[in-house]
């Protein structure tokens, strides 16, 4: 493990300035992902800038009815927040479906969004991986890829984004507030992540050194009727093999509004716009939900071991929407 220095920034400006000046520095949130990767030699920063002491640890109700969540709010605290539980159940459920109690107590909102893929080849420096070592090849493409992508992958990378939180946030049209050396920026979460394309090592649209300071949930009364369903290989403490975040607003049985996002299928949390379009304005039925999922998944290209993700994602789409419709 590489020796590294440790810095506690005085404020956000200091954090961003230090990171901007040090090409091999990294922000440290709860460390539950970064420290593991450092031990494995996958990430080798020479300076850690610990952001957990910054005043970014509050949840604030906004005048427009939305919610701003500071980047260092711990996953456990966010899941337990009464407003989140009342107005955005999908978010609380996604958080609680992730990792373990101990990890959620450590994990931060910002760190969760920027956690790296769980592709096993990425985590092993003895294997080819374009994301870790650009140009070395993608061992997963023809390797063990049961857990990896069925949508939007490239020959260079077939990884999935592992975060449950990000899937819920994608459904909620969340905005990510970032601080960069030259100012602040709002990025819709759906625009935060990139497709792998030819450069899977570039995972987000953030500038180097950008600090996530908060996320902003827009007001969405319909989200009171929302949920998150996650399928995993054991009942707890496992990443998703399929997940759906959904918000459903019916008007006399007709879909007035719907938000749908999938996890475990692509390099980024997958907002299912096409399925939403199929559903919107139509009389809801489980068959319609199935058709909508089919439309969304029509372009799925399963790999050798993950063909099951297509019927699985379809099944949980139907399940979740039907349950919301009848709740």
């Amino acid at each position: 493990m590489r020796a590294f220095r440790y810095h506690r920034p005085a404020d956000v400006a200091d954090a961003v300035a230090v990171l901007g000046a040090e090409p091999q520095a990294a922000y440290l949130g709860g460390g539950t992902n970064l420290v593991d990767l450092m031990k494995l030699g996958v990430q080798r920063p020479d300076l850690l800038v610990d952001v957990t002491g910054l005043p970014l640890d509050s949840v604030e109700e906004l005048p427009d009815g939305g919610l701003r969540v500071g980047a260092t709010v711990r996953n456990s605290d966010l899941a337990a927040h009464p407003v989140v539980r009342r107005d955005y159940p999908v978010l609380a459920r996604a958080l609680l479906a992730a990792a373990s109690g101990q990890l959620r107590n450590m994990a931060t909102t910002g760190g969760n969004l920027l956690q790296r893929t769980r592709c096993v080849y990425f985590q092993d420096t003895g294997k080819a991986c374009n994301k870790r070592a650009p140009g070395s090849g993608c061992a997963a493409l023809h390797g063990q890829n049961r857990d990896l992508a069925v949508l939007d992958w490239s020959e260079q990378c077939v990884a999935t984004h592992p975060s449950d939180l990000a899937v819920a946030l994608a459904a909620l049209d969340t905005v990510v507030e970032v601080h960069e050396t030259d100012g602040t920026r709002d990025i819709p979460i759906t625009a935060l992540y990139r497709s792998p394309g030819a450069h899977p090592e570039r995972e987000t649209t953030l500038a180097r050194g950008a600090l996530i300071t908060a996320i902003r949930l827009p007001p969405l009364p319909a989200a009171r009727r929302s949920t998150y369903l996650k399928v995993r290989d054991r009942a707890s403490f496992a990443f998703a093999v399929g997940s759906v975040a959904a918000v459903l607003d019916l008007d006399g049985g007709v879909v007035r509004d719907v938000r749908l996002a999938y996890g475990a299928v692509a390099h980024r949390p997958w907002r299912a716009y096409r399925a939403e379009a199929e559903l919107r304005g139509r009389m809801f039925s489980p068959e319609l939900a199935g058709r909508a999922a089919d439309v969304e998944l029509a372009e799925a290209r399963p790999l050798r071991h993950n063909g099951f993700k297509v019927p699985l994602t379809r099944a949980i789409t139907v399940r979740v929407l039907s349950e919301l419709a009848s709740s």
Binding site: M1, R2, A3, K39, G41, R118, V120, Y121, Q123, D124, T125, G126, K127, A139, H142, G143, Q144, R146, D147, V231, D233, R234, A235, S236, F237, A238, F239, V241, G242, H305, N306, F308, P311, L312, A315, I316, V318, R319
Partner: protein
């Protein structure tokens, strides 16, 4: 004249130390001037090291030395090639340890390991087991020394003539033992003597191996294993960590601590081989078995033969006039497979007890009844009566406790909302063995007693059990007895493996207690003025025991629910009833049985070593990706046992309970999944990818 300590539920003697973190494990002993070793695994599957460049590693801060085949101390070649490490440039499997970096801190050693540059010449490799692999051969014996094949009657004719037949092939992947404490060692040479604290299941054996490898007298080696955080078979022999630590300590002439990483436990320390099993059963219209055949194919390495005794379970479990079992092996460029909880019995029972369920369906009789009908009181293999066999009693008792009687045998007949519900059963058995051991017993002038035996407590409660046995043997309350185990300087004893620890050790402890009491009785005068000690060995007594079919039995019952859309499987309950001789301590015994059952459930639903044939190693080599059952997977697990007295076993009358809990458990789960869904999954683990979309099948 027993005081009755045996049979009572004492908490573990070292429980407090363990839960408060003061119990010391192998790399936790404070040692002056200690250094840290980090093992470097080979990056290729098969080949030869052509060059080792250590310059960069040695220049890294804190690094003291880099050992490799070019400079490591020499070892005598022994019978275990997997620990003849750093001796030759040849690489036999990926992950073979080819260098060790020693540094002043763990982090520096790890960084140094990254900087060691090794060049290899590589050759083609073969790492995937297949039923049609051209390298299949017939080993001379299977683990530990059973005949490879057996045949009685005429299977082919018997099978062909039967009205009901089942022919099914079952596949299981590689399983990795994954004890909580990794293989870990602190080693220290002083004046030609080697002291190691090692995480092992048998310090006596490790001492013998180290003495042989380093060509020193056994008296010059001391192995301490006071507390061991599990092994599940993988620590049954000296493994890489102790040899590498001892080599490194000799090389740098300082104490060395070396623990393998979680990733390094996937392969080089042993694992359960993937297995392909074909089972054929034939029966008459009443379900009486007429022909049984079990063919098992598994893998071994190119450096040593380990032949999992997969089909041995079938030789003695159910009777039939025509029987055949075979084992075939392939030598692959993989680490040598090794013992993992109930080697042979565990995978073999998965296949046979699944096939029995398929037969019950084919005949149309209840699977509990099918097993009762095919019970054997005479061992079909040895032709002698079992010393005791309570399989039927376990099945009946379990069926009653579980509420089996009203079961509708129709698959997919019970539904609760989105959940399909089903129940399954399996038989279970495990041999009751014992090995010679020795022990001393000492009477102290203050009225207390000391019993010494190199038993090992790998988390099972063995220390507490021996303390209870010792108290009864001495005829005193246990509070007056001190028990000392886990040190090769103590009298030599059998390894904690094969479910024979308690049988073997208690035998020696009881004889020592008896001998001491006799000696004290014969002493002139009332009170001895000094200590009085006796030492006994059970070599002759155990060696002279007649060979008889001695087995423990059990019955496993499971209720699952399967999500009809997603295929997720959860257990509502799991219930096992066992007949395993005398139970020394109900508290620790229950933990053993429940632990075994849980591991069987884990095998059924979760565990799978995923090999990448190009790299020749298991890519899901950590506990985030190699899934093990967690608490919410199962709502209730209950273990019961029947009172059983068997005088043909050993003085304590115990059969061993470490492994029987896992035997049959996976089959009971798979059978329940079939009952719930109507789908028979013959390849473990049973996961969503194999069951998704069941609603659509309806």
């Amino acid at each position: 004249m027993s005081t009755g300590a045996v049979g009572r539920a004492y908490p573990r003697l070292e429980g407090r130390e363990k839960v408060t973190g003061t119990a010391r494990y192998a790399v936790e002993y404070p040692v002056d001037g200690v250094t840290y070793g980090w093992a470097v695994p080979s990056a290729v599957v098969r080949g030869r090291i052509t060059r080792v460049d250590t310059a960069e590693a040695l220049a890294s801060p804190g690094v003291l030395a880099v050992l490799h085949h070019g400079n490591a101390p020499r070892l005598a070649p022994g019978p275990q090639p997997e620990v003849w490490l750093l001796q030759e440039p040849a690489v036999h499997y990926r992950g073979q340890f080819v260098a060790v970096v020693v540094a002043t801190s763990l982090e520096a050693a790890r960084e140094g390991a990254r900087l060691v540059r090794i060049d290899y010449d590589t050759g083609p490799h073969s790492t995937v087991l297949a039923a049609d692999h051209p390298g299949l051969y017939r080993p001379d014996k299977v683990n530990p020394n059973y005949p490879t094949d057996t045949a009685e009657g005429d299977f082919d004719a018997g099978y062909a003539a039967a009205p009901v037949r089942v022919d099914a092939t079952y596949r299981t992947p590689a399983y990795h033992n994954n004890p909580m404490e990794p293989h870990a060692t602190t080693a220290h040479w002083r004046d030609g003597r080697l002291l190691v604290h090692d995480s092992t299941q048998g310090a006596s054996l490790v001492r013998a191996t180290l003495a042989e490898l380093f060509e020193v007298p056994p008296e010059s080696v001391r192995v301490i294993a006071e507390h061991v955080g599990g092994g599940f078979g993988s620590k049954g022999y000296a493994k890489a960590s102790v040899v590498l630590a001892a080599l490194a300590a000799r090389h740098v002439d300082r104490p060395v601590r070396l623990a393998l990483t979680r990733q390094q436990l996937f392969g080089p320390v042993g694992y359960r081989t993937p297995i392909i099993q074909r089972v054929r059963l034939a029966a008459d219209a009443d379900g009486r078995l007429t022909a049984i055949c079990h063919d098992a194919i598994s893998q071994t390495s190119t450096i040593r033969e380990f032949a999992e005794q997969t089909a041995v379970y079938t030789r003695s479990m159910y009777a039939a006039p025509h029987r055949r079992t075979t084992h075939r092996l392939v030598r692959l460029d993989v680490p040598t497979p090794f013992w993992m909880r109930a080697p042979g019995e565990c995978p073999g029972a998965y296949a046979l007890e699944s096939a029995m369920d398929e037969l019950a369906t084919a005949v149309g009789i209840d699977p509990v009844e099918l097993r009762i009908r095919n019970d054997a009181q005479v061992d079909p293999d040895q032709g002698r009566p079992f010393t005791s066999r309570n399989l039927v009693a376990c099945l009946r008792d379990g069926a009653q406790r579980f509420g089996w009687a009203d079961r509708d045998p129709t698959p997919r007949a019970r539904r609760d909302g989105r959940w399909l519900i089903g129940t399954g059963v399996a038989g279970s058995s495990y041999p009751a063995r014992a090995r010679p051991s020795s022990a001393t017993a000492t009477a102290r002038p203050d009225g207390s007693f000391l019993v010494r035996i190199n038993a090992t407590d790998i988390g099972t409660g063995a220390r507490t059990a021996m303390w209870q046995v010792a108290a009864d043997a001495l005829g005193v309350p246990p509070e007056r007895v001190e028990i000392r185990i886990g040190d090769s300087d103590l009298p030599t004893a059998a390894v904690a493996g094969g479910s024979m620890g308690t049988a073997s050790w208690s035998w020696a402890v009881i004889r020592a207690g008896q001998a001491l009491r006799e000696k004290l009785r014969d002493l002139p005068g009332d009170e001895p003025s000094g200590e009085v000690t006796v030492e006994v060995s059970t070599d002759d007594e155990v060696g002279g025991q007649p060979t008889l079919p001695r087995y423990a039995y059990g019955a496993q019952f499971v209720e699952v629910r399967v999500d009809a859309d997603t295929g997720e499987v959860r257990l509502n309950r799991m219930l096992g009833v066992f007949a395993a001789g005398r139970i020394v301590n109900p508290t620790t015994a229950r933990s053993q049985l429940v632990g075994g059952m849980t591991m069987g459930l884990s095998m059924a639903l979760h565990e799978e070593g995923l090999l990448d044939e190009r790299y020749g190693d298991w890519v899901n080599h950590d506990l985030a990706t190699y899934h093990i059952t967690v608490c919410p997977d199962v709502e209730s697990i209950e273990a019961y046992w029947l009172d059983e007295q068997d005088d043909e076993l050993n003085p304590a009358g115990v059969k061993g309970i470490g492994e029987i809990g896992i035997v049959g458990a996976a089959a009971a789960v798979a059978n329940a999944v079939h009952h719930a869904t109507g789908v028979r999954i013959r390849e473990l683990p049973i996961r969503v990818d194999k069951l998704v979309g069941l609603s659509a099948l309806a």
